[in-house]
Structure formats: structure tokens, C-alpha cells
């Protein structure tokens, strides 16, 4: 009996120990390295410091964040949001309707300014007016019906911020900016965050780090989370790295403005028919993501397969009507070796169809561009609106059903000014000590929920 009790006690202690190892620990500094700018509109740092009025669920539906409830009137053209009470900014100033309106007003003013940065200009404000209807109530009015307005506000670029006296942007997110040195941005945990203190004491974000250095730092323990580009995902797996992969969130597309040689629709259609998506998918991007001719991933829209992706070189040549000797410059945004390689491959494809296309260095005028557009939304209607806005396409969406969306997208793509090529995922390699990390629907790591093993 005693022996059985002793054995049971040992097993209980072992079980408690095991339970203690899996439970998140507070503390520690997580180091994450990125190739880009952490303060970009959809950058990682902005997500950690700022919150939006709404957030997206795993299904892409809007869920409460800084706004606890909302309603629409006037056929989706007026949206009333009730703000979360008792929230304070990281500088301990109160979060209220006045601060929200100020944030949105500053955001729209910056985006409209001729001196605005590219990032600010990308923040096109989808409302015609915003004003406070009470201490915790704000009202948006839009020029056109916006049924997916709450989902739209969940995008990082519409996160609420205020500029502190020190010039640093303050938000209501789980982390606040505490320093920037040697290319590393340091964020520390905001203990009074409205949705609770994060497990991590701080996050160190090293910006503009090369891919090679990121992987090297991860391998030697100098980094906890690093990026894994789609074309290296296969290699990362072969190296048995712990990789988190999102769904398709980045659209690789060829944009062909209707000007110059491509003012003729047939020329654009010829170029669209000449591109070899399979070569991009199979070789350059190592079979990651999905081949597409749609503005939305198949998983989001459900109808992406209806858009033909096959290459038809003969038809492209026929529409082209002979070789075109004038050099056509092609750019790639963002830059980078893989984008350039993809661009050169497309130039070869176009050359076969009779176009004399050449990749040029960034900054030079181009006749066509290879672009990688990030998709933040996951709800079909909102996602389509986001992509249409991103490419500057005009289409009227009459409804929220798949057929209405397909018709709108078909109409938008009919001009062939945008040729979708591939949907690519985002992936991150995770260090061994990182726990409870997962990715947001648009592929960014959710660090507020993460913890470090061994942290005290």
C-alpha cells in the first residue's frame, strides 16, 4: 500500500513537472530578424505596438479589438463603433473617441499630403468622414456601401496610434518602443495592455538582415525567429528547421499599365498568355504556394481555379503579330535576387512571344513590373476589395457571394493590366526555445502569445 502510494506520488510529481514545462513562462527577450522594415505599414513592430479597432478571426471575420461592438446604417455607408473602455495608451493617456479620430485624421492627412512617404500614401482612407459621437463612440461615413468595413479596419495600416512628446509612436498594443540601436529595434512588454501583459519581457527586432545572416544567427542561437522565403522553404525543411508556414498571402503578379506599347489590349493579352507560371512555381519558388491567375487564393475565394493559368505561346505570338524590337523595361518590386530571377524568367517568356523585354535596375521607368502584393484580409469580399485597391483596379462588387466576386474579379482582370502569377506563403523558422508561437492569418508571427523556454 505504502509502496503504491509512493509510486503514485512520484508519478504525480513527474506529471506536475511535465505540466510546468509546457506552461508558458513570463520573461525573456525574443530576437527576431527580418529583411525588411519593421515599421512598414504592415510591419512586425507596428503590429506589436499598435492595435486596430477590429481584429480578424481565423475565418477572416471581424472580431472586437479596441472597438467592442459596431453597427451599420444607411446601407453600409454609416458605421458606428463603440470603443473599449478603460484602455490607456502606452504613455498612460486615455484611449477615447477623440484620440481615435485624431489618429485617423492624421493618417488621412499624411496619406493625402504631396510630401507623404510611400507608406503613408499606401494608406488610402476608405471613409469620407470620421468623427466622435461620444467619449467612446465614433462614426464613419463612406461614399459607397462598405459591407466589409469592420474587416477593413482590422488591417495594420489602420491601427490606432498617437505621437508621444518624444516623437515615438505610442499605441495600445502589448509592446512599446523602448529603444533603437545598431539596426535593432527593442520593444518592451506593456504591462497594462488591455488584453493582458505578454509573456515576453521584450522583443528585439533586427531589421534589414540578409537571409544568409538570419539563418546563420538562428543556427548559432543569436536569433529566435527568422524569415524563410518561399523559394528557400524546401531547403529549410531539408535542413530540418522548425518552420511555420502561412497560407497563400502574397500575390506575385505582373502589372502591365495600359500605356506605350501596351496601350493595345491585344499586346497585354499576348504578354499574359506568354508567361510560364509553371516554371516560376516549379523551379524558382520550389513548388511553394499555388499557381494562380486570380487576385484571391483558392482557399479564400473558392473560385480561383476558374481563371486559366496555362501558357499559350502560339496564341500569344499570334496576338503579338511579330517581333517587337523596341526594348521593354521590366522592374521588380520589391527587389531582391528571387524577384529579379522571376522577372528575368518572365522576360525570357515574353521574348519567346516576340517582346524584347529586359529587367532593369529599380528606380528606372518601366513598361511592366513584377510585384509582390501582400493580402491582409481573409474574408472574400474584403480580400477582393483589398487587392483591387492594391492594384488600382476598378470593379463593382454587387454582393458578397462567390459569383458576384468572381464576376467583379473577371471584369477587373479582363483588361490584363494585372496578370496574377503565384500565390506564395510566408514562412518563419523558429528557434528551439520559442514556445506557443503561431502565425496570424496573413502570415505574421503573433508574438504577444509567444514565450521562451527557460525564461524566468
Amino acid at each position: 500500500m505504502l509502496r503504491q502510494a509512493a509510486i503514485s506520488g512520484v508519478l504525480l510529481l513527474l506529471a506536475l513537472g511535465a505540466s510546468a514545462r509546457t506552461r508558458p513562462h513570463y520573461g525573456g527577450t525574443l530576437r527576431i530578424e527580418v529583411h525588411g522594415d519593421a515599421w512598414a505599414p504592415d510591419g512586425l513592430a507596428r503590429r506589436l505596438v499598435l492595435d486596430g479597432l477590429t481584429d480578424l478571426s481565423d475565418t477572416g471575420a471581424a472580431e472586437p479589438a479596441l472597438a467592442v461592438q459596431w453597427s451599420q446604417t444607411n446601407h453600409d455607408q454609416r458605421w458606428d463603433f463603440r470603443l473599449r473602455p478603460w484602455v490607456r495608451f502606452q504613455d498612460d493617456t486615455p484611449f477615447n473617441a477623440e484620440a481615435v479620430v485624431a489618429s485617423f485624421t492624421t493618417m488621412c492627412a499624411n496619406s493625402a499630403s504631396p510630401d507623404a512617404t510611400n507608406a503613408a500614401q499606401e494608406t488610402q482612407c476608405p471613409w469620407s468622414a470620421v468623427y466622435a459621437a461620444g467619449p467612446l463612440e465614433i462614426v464613419f461615413t463612406t461614399a459607397t456601401p462598405s459591407p466589409d468595413f469592420p474587416e477593413l479596419l482590422a488591417q495594420t495600416r489602420f491601427a490606432i496610434s498617437k505621437k508621444a512628446s518624444s516623437g515615438v509612436l505610442e499605441g495600445t498594443g502589448p509592446f512599446q518602443v523602448s529603444g533603437f540601436a545598431n539596426g535593432a529595434l527593442t520593444l518592451t512588454a506593456y504591462a497594462d495592455c488591455w488584453h493582458g501583459r505578454p509573456f515576453l519581457d521584450s522583443v528585439e527586432i533586427v531589421q534589414h538582415r540578409s537571409q544568409r545572416d538570419q539563418w546563420l544567427d538562428l543556427s548559432v542561437g543569436r536569433a529566435d525567429i527568422v524569415e524563410v522565403p518561399p523559394e528557400l522553404l524546401r531547403q529549410a525543411r531539408e535542413q530540418h528547421m522548425n518552420v511555420l508556414v502561412s497560407g497563400p498571402v502574397d500575390l506575385l503578379a505582373l502589372t502591365i499599365p495600359a500605356q506605350g506599347v501596351f496601350q493595345d489590349t491585344a499586346m497585354r493579352q499576348s504578354a499574359a498568355l506568354a508567361v510560364d507560371r509553371a516554371a516560376l512555381y516549379n523551379v524558382i519558388f520550389q513548388k511553394q504556394g499555388e499557381i494562380t491567375a486570380s487576385l484571391l487564393p483558392q482557399k479564400v475565394s473558392g473560385y480561383a481555379f476558374l481563371f486559366a493559368t496555362d501558357r499559350d505561346l502560339n496564341r500569344a505570338r499570334a496576338m503579338r503579330g511579330g517581333a517587337f524590337p523596341t526594348p521593354l523595361r521590366m522592374g521588380a518590386e520589391p527587389g531582391g535576387a528571387t524577384m529579379r530571377l522571376a522577372g528575368e524568367r518572365l522576360a525570357l517568356n515574353l521574348h519567346e512571344a516576340g517582346f524584347n523585354a529586359r529587367m532593369v535596375a529599380p528606380g528606372k521607368p518601366t513598361a511592366m513590373d513584377l510585384q509582390l502584393i501582400h493580402l491582409g484580409e481573409t474574408a472574400p469580399r474584403a480580400a477582393l476589395d483589398e487587392m483591387l485597391a492594391a492594384f488600382g483596379l476598378n470593379a463593382t462588387v454587387n454582393g458578397t457571394g462567390a459569383q458576384a466576386l468572381w464576376q467583379a474579379e473577371s471584369s477587373a482582370l479582363k483588361s490584363n493590366t494585372v496578370v496574377p502569377l503565384l500565390w506564395l506563403p510566408r514562412a518563419w523558422a523558429i528557434g528551439e526555445r520559442v514556445r506557443d508561437i503561431r502565425l496570424s492569418p496573413d502570415g505574421e508571427p503573433l508574438l504577444a502569445e509567444a514565450s521562451l523556454e527557460g525564461a524566468k
Binding site: 516554371a279 523551379v283 524558382i284 522571376a342 528575368e344 525570357l348
Partner: protein
């Protein structure tokens, strides 16, 4: 041009010609030497380039062999042979190219499709036909690049062993400025490479070993010749306007496996040394020519002193002799040919003077004899009647007084007449001896003709002689003694009247004949024989029964005193014609 000037010119030209010929010969020889040197250097460089090319080809082949036999590639070949995905090797070629120091490298599947390309990664999947050259020696090949440019490189193709189906490696090293820098060229020699990547000549495809190799423009024609003909081309190229910067350039076409000219190697040897030597030679030649000309002047002066001066003296003396001064002699300065010539000249003039004196003496004697004969003849004619008359008078003394008186009167009349005749004869001789010196005055020769015509026109009419006078409309200014000229013309007219006792035609004319005034008197009489024409003007020669033979001599004397000439000739229609030519006076001296 004098003999001295001719000598100076001849000597100068000879010296300059010799100096120029020597300088040209030396310069030509120098040029040939430098040309030979250029050819030797070019040949050496071409050989060196061939060795470098062979070495580079061998290095490329060796690098490819090492790459093909590397574990990594063996593993790739194995995996591909067992159905491995080629996509995962997209960037393999770039890594291998860096590792094995190749500029270009491609992994090619057995069907010719590119698996991985270091120089153009996006070309995966496209065909690379060059794998047919697998195992062959390295070759030149043009490689296209994604930015639209091209490179020329030494390429080789290797199959990876132990893989079935095989995979191939196509790799190479580019020919560019770095290649040229490896060339061990001597000072003054430059090497360029033109990559024949476009239809026309492109400046951007011309590269030298350094950035300061200068403009490629001067080499364009040479390069074009080599790349269009496929043969070596040589030329002298002037990169700058300065001749010292010119180069002897040879363009050597470099051909690919299919015989196309893919590049042109240009070897340029500086001509500065040669040009400097040529300039030096030219300077020396100028100096030598200058000295030669000075020497020629000195030599010509010396030779003139030795040769031309005696000749000039001889020439002057000959001129004086020709002018009638036969007493001229020259200095005999030596025993050479010129001395002999001078002696002979002096001897000749001496002989001439002596002969002239003898001739004058003999002429004088002859003249006196002629004079004596003529005087005897002239005087004998009146003397004979005188003798007869005197003898008649002596015989008449025996006659009765009356008859004697008749004879006496007749005889005294005859004596008086003959004595008058003797006076006339003596007066004529006296006139001839007292020819006055002409008093020259400007006059018109036509006036002399008109005066004679008007004077004798009535007498000619009486003798039934028709007078025709022909004078030019223009003036015939002469300088003459009008009276003497009138007497001369009158003499000729009187002679003509005597020649036409039964009447006839007398033509007197005045006309311009070049620089002379030609006066002529023609009759239609019996005419003259050639002997008479040649002797007419000899004093005391006459064809008439009672002429003294002094008339035409006086005429010739008058004409000679007027620096003119007179000639007698037979007329075209018979008769005689006397032609006088007198020099026309200058314009300022006209009448």
C-alpha cells in the same frame, strides 16, 4: 642662266639628291627593321595568346573536370538519374562556378535542357545545344546574358561520369580586360580585344587592358576588316594627330567552333621609336643637305675660278671677236684643256688679225690697182682723142692757113671737150673720196619716196616710163639724212631710167617690214644676172659703156651709214629690183 649658276644648281641638286636618297634609304631600312620587329612581336604575342588561350582552355577543361568529378555533382547526377527533381538545383551552378572560379557554368540535362545556369539563372529549362561538343577541346563561344549583353569566353563541355542518363557541364571563362592584363606584353605594345557581338562596330565592345587605353575609334577600320574577312589585317593606326603616337596594329580574328569571328585581338606596337629615329635621320639629312649646298656653293665658286672663269673670258673674247674686235686675247692660266683652249683662241685671233691685215693690204692694193685701172681706162679714153687731135694739129701745120685754122678750131674744140670730160671724171672721183658724214634726223621714209617720185615724174613721162608709187598708209619713222637718202634713191631711179631706154614701168614703194622700213625701186628693164647682182655694189664695177662704177657703191655707202642694207635682185616679171631696208626709229624718235 650662266655656267656658274648651272654648276651651282647641278652641284646643289646632286648633293641634295644624294642626301635625300641616302636618308630615304636609311629611313626605309629603319622602317623595315621596325616592321620586322613589329611582326616578330606580333608573332610572339600571337603565339603567347595561343599559349594563353590553350592554357586557359586547359584550365577551363581541368576546372570542369574537377567540377564534374566533385562529390557534389556526382551526388546530383545520381539523384537526377534516380528521378530527382531538377528544380532544387536551380542555384547549384552559381555556387559551383564560384568554387571552381568559372565565369560561366551550366548544368545541362541529357536532353539539352538547362538545369542550372550561373550566368543566366532564369534560363533553366531552355535548350543548350552546345552539349554536342562534349569531350571536345575548348572553344570560343558567345554567351548571352540576361541584361541583353553578351560575353565571349573559352568554353568546354564535360559529361558527368557514372550518371545514366548523363548530365553535362558547360563552363567557361570570359575573354575580357582581365584576360588582356595577363598578357606579358613589352613596353610600347598594347593589346586590345574587340568582342564581335553586334553587326556593326560598337565602341563598347572594344576593350583594352586598362581604362586608359585610349579611344577605339582609330582601330575601327582595322577591326572591321578583320572581322568581315576573317583574315589578319595590318595597318598603321594614328590614335592621335601626332605621328609619334602612331602604332603598327595587327588585328587577328578569333573564331568560334562554327568558324564565325567572335572576337578580334588587336596587337598595337608603338612606332614612336621608329618615328624618332626617322626624325633624327631627317634632321641629319637636312643638316647634311645644308652643308652640301654650302659645299656646292664653295665648290662651284672654286670650279668657276678654275673652269668657268676662263670659259667666261673665252666667251667674252669670242663675243668681242664676233663684234669685230679681233685684237682680243684671253689670259692663259694653266696647261690644262682650258689653257690650251685659251692659247688656241689667242692664236686664232692673232691669225685672224694677221689675215685681216693681209686682206686689207691686199684689198688696198687691189683697190689701188682697180683705181689705177679705172683711172687709166677713164683717162685713156679722153687721152686718145687728145693725142689724135694734137697729132692732127701737128700735121695740119703743113696745111694752108685756112685749112689749118679750120683744123685748129676743130681740134681746140675737141681738146676743150675732152678736157671737160677729164674734169668730170676727176670730179666724180673727188666726190667719192669726199662722201660726207650723214646728219641723222627723224623723218618718214614715205616722204623720201614721194620726193623722188615727184622729182623724176616729168622726166619719166618723156621717156615713156610709167611710174607707180606704193606707200603704206602708216608712218615709217626712220632716222636718216634726208639729202643723202634722196641722192641714193635718185641714183637708183636714174639707173632704172637708163635700164629702160625704150620705156617701161618703174615701181617705187615704201612699206613696213618688221622692225624696218623697206624701200624698193623696180624697173622692167633687161634685168640682172646673178653675178651682176653680187658685184653691182663693188666700186668701179659697171655694166654701162660710160659708167664710172661708183654710183651704186655710193648708194651702198649711204645706206650702210644709215645702218641699213641694200640688195639687188631680179624682178618677178623681169627687170631689176633694188631693196633698201632701214631700221625703224623708236616711237619717241619718230618724225
Amino acid at each position: 642662266m650662266t655656267l656658274r649658276q648651272k654648276l651651282l644648281l647641278t652641284f646643289s641638286l646632286t648633293v641634295v639628291g644624294i642626301v635625300a636618297a641616302v636618308a630615304w634609304t636609311i629611313s626605309l631600312r629603319v622602317r623595315r627593321v621596325f616592321d620586322e620587329l613589329h611582326h616578330e612581336q606580333t608573332s610572339a604575342l600571337v603565339s603567347q595568346f595561343q599559349r594563353e588561350f590553350d592554357q586557359s582552355a586547359a584550365d577551363t577543361s581541368a576546372a570542369l573536370d574537377r567540377t564534374a568529378s566533385s562529390d557534389a555533382l556526382q551526388r546530383i547526377a545520381f539523384e537526377l538519374a534516380n528521378g530527382g527533381d531538377t528544380a532544387q538545383y536551380l542555384n547549384t551552378a552559381a555556387g559551383l562556378a564560384r568554387e571552381y572560379q568559372l565565369d560561366d557554368l551550366e548544368l545541362v540535362a541529357h536532353d539539352g535542357s538547362i538545369i542550372s545556369s550561373a550566368q543566366w539563372p532564369a534560363r533553366f529549362g531552355y535548350k543548350e545545344p552546345v552539349i554536342l561538343s562534349a569531350g571536345k577541346p575548348a572553344f570560343l563561344k558567345e554567351e548571352n546574358l540576361p541584361d541583353g549583353s553578351s560575353e565571349i569566353g573559352i568554353f568546354a563541355v564535360r559529361a558527368v561520369e557514372k550518371s545514366n542518363p548523363p548530365i553535362y557541364l558547360v563552363g567557361g571563362r570570359n575573354l575580357n580586360a582581365n584576360t588582356l592584363r595577363d598578357f606579358p606584353v613589352s613596353a610600347g605594345t598594347r593589346v586590345f580585344l574587340y568582342r564581335n557581338l553586334s553587326a556593326g562596330f560598337s565602341l563598347g565592345n572594344f576593350t583594352g587592358a586598362s581604362q586608359t587605353s585610349g579611344s577605339p575609334q582609330p582601330y575601327q577600320q582595322l577591326v572591321d576588316q578583320a572581322r568581315t574577312t576573317g583574315q589578319n589585317a595590318e595597318a598603321v593606326v594614328y590614335p592621335t594627330p601626332h605621328r609619334e603616337d602612331s602604332v603598327n596594329a595587327t588585328a587577328i580574328p578569333l573564331k568560334g567552333a562554327n568558324g564565325n569571328v567572335l572576337a578580334v585581338l588587336v596587337v598595337a606596337n608603338s612606332r614612336r621609336g621608329m618615328v624618332e629615329v626617322q626624325n633624327h635621320i631627317r634632321s641629319i639629312a637636312y643638316g647634311a643637305a645644308g652643308l652640301g649646298i654650302l659645299f656646292a656653293i664653295a665648290a662651284s665658286l672654286w670650279i668657276a675660278a678654275r673652269v668657268s672663269r676662263p670659259i667666261e673670258q673665252l666667251a667674252r673674247a669670242a663675243g668681242e671677236v664676233a663684234a669685230g674686235n679681233w685684237d682680243t686675247s684671253v689670259e692663259v692660266s694653266g696647261r690644262d684643256e682650258l689653257g690650251v683652249l685659251a692659247g688656241s683662241f689667242n692664236h686664232m685671233t692673232g691669225q685672224l688679225v694677221e689675215q685681216r691685215d693681209r686682206l686689207v693690204q691686199s684689198e688696198r692694193v687691189a683697190a689701188w690697182r682697180e683705181l689705177a685701172r679705172r683711172l687709166a681706162h677713164e683717162l685713156k679714153n679722153p687721152l686718145f682723142p687728145l693725142q689724135i687731135t694734137v697729132e692732127n694739129m701737128v700735121r695740119a701745120r703743113a696745111l694752108p692757113q685756112q685749112e689749118f685754122d679750120e683744123v685748129f678750131n676743130e681740134s681746140t674744140a675737141t681738146l676743150r671737150a675732152e678736157i671737160d670730160n677729164l674734169k668730170v671724171i676727176i670730179g666724180r672721183f673727188s666726190d667719192f673720196s669726199k662722201m660726207p658724214k650723214p646728219q641723222m634726223e627723224p623723218m618718214d621714209a614715205r616722204d623720201a619716196i614721194r620726193r623722188v617720185a615727184s622729182l623724176y615724174e616729168p622726166a619719166l613721162k618723156e621717156k615713156h616710163i610709167e611710174l607707180r608709187t606704193t606707200v603704206d598708209s602708216g608712218q615709217l619713222p626712220i632716222s636718216a639724212d634726208a639729202e643723202l637718202l634722196h641722192r641714193a634713191l635718185s641714183n637708183l631711179v636714174l639707173n632704172a631710167m637708163d635700164a629702160m631706154p625704150d620705156g617701161g614701168t618703174l615701181v617705187i614703194a615704201a612699206a613696213r617690214a618688221g622692225d624696218a622700213a623697206r624701200l624698193s625701186v623696180s624697173d622692167s628693164g633687161a634685168g640682172l644676172t646673178p653675178e651682176e647682182c653680187s658685184r653691182l655694189f663693188t666700186p668701179y664695177y659697171t655694166t654701162r659703156q660710160h659708167g664710172t662704177g661708183l654710183g651704186l657703191a655710193i648708194v651702198q655707202s649711204v645706206i650702210a651709214d644709215h645702218h641699213g642694207t641694200i640688195a639687188a635682185e631680179s624682178g618677178e616679171n623681169g627687170g631689176a629690183r633694188f631693196v633698201i631696208e632701214l631700221p625703224l626709229a623708236a616711237e619717241g624718235q619718230s618724225a
